[in-house]
Symmetry: C4
Subunit: 257 residues, 4 copies
């Protein structure tokens, strides 16, 4: 079994921009992506399943079980169409991250994506009064393009790495000739703590880049509504990792080697 | 090498219901499934082996070694036939769980299964005087069908996830268009402690669903007889996990990187 | 890359018996197998390499580096030929054990092996004055055959499992219709401590089974000579496992998720 | 996805010698290899990517993200051409090391490499005033050839193993009929501490072997310039390993098995 993208609807897209927002630090990327999907009334066009996710099902609405999955949502845009990748989880193994991102880039290429934006949080390790938006690109030529949107490219921050899908997608996209940038909101970075402020900052930048108008006044309210789902998935990851990391106690059992 | 199901006998089944009961919390699923296999005098029709099981053999009857395996048992039923999946173990790796469940669903589909019931224990973390039966389904439409059998679907319990085969089978079955429900008995959830009371509750519900009569009076006795085998397999898992988790002590050895 | 057996010489063997003796508890199996190879002046006929071994080379004679490997040795016997599998190491991953043993059984089958004996130590966890030889088989019918050689099949010992190649080979051989038994010498079971007494006991039983005469008086001396090589490989496993288990210290580095 | 070498330029090489210098103890190999690449103005001819590297991108020059990768550099030499393998990282899984090294040896063979030199540090665990150069070979016949360059082959050091690419390349090269030696500089072996002295010693030996003149006076300065990049990659490995090793705290979450 390997990571699989199931296309629900084949759509001829017009120069689509792919935006990735998956669970991570402060849930910034996931919350921002989820808000756009909801506000733009986007339509699900594909689902991604992976054996590199946690081996469990998550229960929603009245005990109905669902596979952990990621989803691609689509809508027509002004200048170009928008495709959003969001979901329940990321890979739990290093090789799984590579497989996941490779499949995403291949799918993106197959529907004509020439530019990717990945969203995330940047853990400051302390309270952030006025979070900034920090960025990284996968080609120097993109710096000029994105700087004008108020993204800080390493002037105040010396970022060494970007871990997980938000980072690897930049690298793998480059190998396929696809431009990509990562947009991160400064946040405390405490586990299990969603940060609406950082998500709000990212959405302001994102709507400018997309040249669309989105009512951001409902963000906090929507996050409140998403909280239940998010808390559940955070708790899952935490309890499952506990499970996997659990060290059994010693007992007097003999075995043969 | 990958997870393999060896079919021992090809049988034309009549609308078979697949019931899964593997080792887990309180051994509830395994004990309930094992009791049905024994009471209904079911016949083994397939065996499943996997490189994702512990790398060892288990010794039964006078030092005879056996691979860890799972088994499918079959019998004719009144309205429809019954197929039971039980066994020594579950996968020890996350990806292994996915591979295992995918193979099971594929086999189930190949013999005409259109409905799956998975059995398990629900860990309360405390003594349960009168265990309830709690459930989850893989499609909302199934709630009505199963509620009438006295299964609690999330009214008293907010279950977030179902880990392992009992959960993943629901998710993967859905992807193949197969209806499935998980039936769990409330139990303490102490490791290495089989809970006959929870298994008894599950069997009462299960026989109602199957519309069959099974003498449940011998359950405690049978569990007593199964205990030896169960204890052994529990001990195996524990000692092996210890082995794998064992941290070697430091020693003054030089190496080159 | 996967586990590979490189055949150095194709030999038409006469009803060969395969004997496995790899590193393990008390190094009993490895030492016994190594002594036979040396005393019977057996000839290397195949080598086995695996990506599931530790990722390192071992240095012998004046800084010459060698891959970790296992080796098959062959000699003509009286009633039937003998094939011995011994080597530097076993797999370090659970799935690797399955792959390793599957390749061994396939190779054995390809050269006409119909019976396998695996050798090992049985950890008593305390000093053993007069070590016994304990056994397990992969088919009930073999008990009678081996009991007459003074092997204890579970009368005094309740063995639950046999971990690693000595065990899995029994299980996988059965699946291919090959008879197999495991012969274990009682030993303390301290890590990094080779037990010549247990190896001696096993060799006495083994030579009776093989109906050959082997001068066992040199065993302690030979083990002394093997010690250097054995200590090195024990140390390797220990230092490497330390390496893999090493927990990095915390440091104030920021990253993005 | 698997380890992939992308050839940027196909060059007909004249009896090329492959030199490997990757991150490791004291960064000795990487620094020595990097200095040669820079001093000899070598040209990049191939890149290697692997899903067995850490799942992240590394940021250089003004927030531009790059995949972790290894690189092959080429230049014409006097007697024979030189090919250097250096890079950001090594595999993080045991099987990954085997896959990585197998791909490297296959590529080396395809461009006509008949000899490989791997570079590394040898951890003394204490301050080394005058570091020596220690060696290992993959065939006894090579000892004489390399001893004349002042490499110590086990007279003062009893090395047991060589872990990682510097070691495995020797073993895998032998299996393909390629001669190889490992050249190590004695160093303290503290994590995150680059040792220019050990690298200098290795370069002195290496230039003698290659029979080339390289200005080594700028080594410390160059290492100073490389430090930023090296520190970053060291920090990455450290923080990522922390991440992977992080044990989640207990919390009162119920789950089902």
């Amino acid at each position: 079994m390997e990571t699989t993208i199931t296309v629900l609807e084949k759509i001829k897209m017009k120069n689509p921009l792919l935006i990735e927002g998956l669970p991570g630090i402060g849930n910034v990327g996931r919350v921002a992506a989820g808000y756009l999907v909801s506000e733009l009334k986007m339509k699900k066009v594909a689902e991604l399943y992976s054996p590199h996710f946690l081996p469990l099902v998550i229960l929603h609405e009245d005990s109905v079980a669902h596979m952990l999955k990621c989803e691609f949502y689509y809508c027509k845009g002004k200048a170009r169409d928008i495709l959003i990748l969001t979901g329940d989880t990321q890979s739990i193994s290093p090789e799984g991250h590579y497989e996941f991102c490779e499949k995403v880039v291949n799918y993106a290429k197959s529907v004509g994506v020439k530019e990717i934006l990945t969203l995330g949080g940047f853990a400051e390790g302390k309270e952030v009064a006025d979070p900034k938006v920090i960025g990284a690109v996968n080609d120097k030529k993109l710096l000029k393009k994105y700087e004008k949107f108020g993204i800080d490219f390493g002037k105040d921050h010396q970022i060494g790495t970007i871990v997980g899908a938000s980072g690897l997608l930049l690298g793998l996209a480059r190998m396929q000739g696809i431009d990509a940038a990562c947009i991160m909101g400064e946040t405390f970075g405490m586990p299990l703590m969603t940060d609406p402020k950082a998500a709000d900052k990212i959405l302001h930048v994102l709507t400018k880049i997309l040249d669309i108008k989105v009512d951001l006044s409902k963000l906090e309210k929507t996050i409140g509504e998403m909280e239940d789902k998010i808390k559940k998935s955070d708790a899952i990851h935490k309890s499952m990792l506990e499970e996997l990391a659990a060290k059994p106690q010693k007992e007097d059992i003999r075995y043969i080697g």
